[in-house]
Amino acid sequence: MPADGSTAFTTVLSRCHRRLRLVAFVRHGSITGAIALAIIDVVLLTVRHEGHVGNVAVAVSVASILLAVAAAYTLAVVSVPSVSATARIVDRECGLHDRATTALQFLTASDLVSRLIVADAVYHVERIPPSRFRFAMPAVGRWLGAVAVVAFILALTPLARSTSRVPPLSNSSPTTSPGRAAEDVNRPTRRGAEPAVAAETGRMAGDPGNRAHPAEVRSDVQGQPVGKVEGRLVDDANKPTRESGDTAGSRATSSRPSGLPAGRSNPSSAETGSSSGSQGSGDTARGSGSALSASGRGANGAVAEDSRHGGVGRSELTSGPSRAAEPPAIATRHTAAYAAAYGRAESATRRETVPANLRSYVRAYFLAIRPGQ
């Protein structure tokens, strides 16, 4: 057989062979990809439970994707049809009446009819576009993929919601450049009176008037749930703060009388105050409150008190625009700067940029500089 005939046939058949390998890759990839997605779902659910995306979670997700690709490729290589099987598939799929199969067998024959057969096969096979072999997912892959995608969306949605609680950097006021933010945040701290952070926190937390609608207070501050974010950060910062929480609780109890008048001066506004404070108050009152709830309370309480000292009713901070028109610009700016800086801090902590043993210091810092101090 002349080399050109056999070479031409081998070339045109190898195009189909490559395409079939790709089809096999996609077919297996649909299954392995769905499995990888399922693994990522589990990781997302774990992240949602723990409240932060750790390096391990990212590593597991990336590894599962890479493994899925590798597994699909391996399966495709293993299960890809042989050249003779490819010829049979080409014949069957394209209605070639066994031209390719016969040509493959008589490729090396030198008789006249064999040459005619090979030439005829080349003529027909080279007119077949490789796209003729369509990508098709097996039924198992389709169902598995659909379930995994739905689970992925479900797992992602709450995570996005919880992530959206963190004040984005773009949301911050014009003072969000690190230097200015720090400056602005520090200023009221220096200016403010000296009540202890925990005492302040405890007082506000202990205020029974603060038992409702935490979200409203948070949204007043930055349009974001600051107290909750802080709570998560401090919770990450972990257990050593429990002690301070307890302390804060006890101090809050002792200092409640001084805080109460302010809290009760406007019961309606107090009711619209920090609910995390109210929850935390229960914890601290029992002496088992976590630092999370204590600090959450503290932040919200501080905001509320700051507003009060600033001459703005808490109800104005927490309620509609008609009341919000009055707050002094400086207080709003400080609160916004604080929230922005706080958001960055939490983000850094979530990314584990902040070492675990330093998180308590971060927490303490933010408690110290919160507006109203």
């Binding site: 049979r88 069957r92 009446h97 066994d98 199969t101 016969t102 005829d120």
Partner: protein, 329 residues
Amino acid sequence: VTDHTIAQAALFRDCFTQLRTEIARVFVGQPSVVEQLLLCFFCQGHGLIEGAPGLGKTLLVRSLSEALTLRFSRVQCTPDLMPADVTGTNIIVDSAENGHRFQFAPGPIFANIVLADEINRATPRTQSAFLEVMQERHVTVFGTTYPIAPPFSVFATQNPIEMEGTYPLPEAQLDRFFFKIAVAVPGIEDLADIMTRTTGDEEPHVTALFGADVAQSLLVVIRQVKIADPVLRYALRILHATHPHVKDAPERIRTYVRYGASPRGAQAMVLAAKAVALLAGRFHVSIEDLRQVVRPALNHRIVRNFQAEIDQVSAEALIGDVLEAVGEG
């Protein structure tokens, strides 16, 4: 050489088409019957034509011989027909120079196309005389062998209804036939056409198209067609599945078949598929070609059991099961 082969293939297609058209002038309808007859002839096989009386079985074979201008002979088989009446025998010839001597007088079997009409009415002894010639393509009389010139095809007819006074062909003899061609009752339209043609003042005649030499040259090109191993194995899988003791046999084959098709069945399938491929303009056999010729090649080779007779399960239906079981390849 290339041009010659391609030209032979083209000539085969042309001749086949012309013959089909020419025979169709006198044998109305049933193009598949005509095609099977021609395949049988060009593959140098013998055909068993089965059908009720008056369906044109004899006319069909006669038309073929007339269109090919070949030597044609007809033997009307009866119970008193002797083998010598078929093969020929030595007779005493009296001449002035040599005196009395034996001289071989060839029988009607010495022809290119032989019609053995109602072969199942001949005795087994006479039938065996036919079948020996069909297989060996020569005749031995008194120790002398006389070859039969190609092309040579025997077309036997039999009536499936009237079995009184007949000697059904044994399986071994049935196996010698390349195809079993079933002639069905024509439809209304075909019957109307037959009436018009045969009751008018002018009867249609077959025109002679070409001679034995052309026919002989066309026989060679069929065997040049190639068949790939997977396609050949497909044919063998079909054959294998007709046997009831085989694992892959369909359920009805196990129930109703006593013995499956012989290797001659596979030979017939492959050879006929080669001719079909050539007609389709290919030099290789495809699975579709095989499936096209499975029924005529195997339906007389599957030996059904008594249960199949009771349940009226035909060999045709069993072949359908086999094809379904084997799949598309």
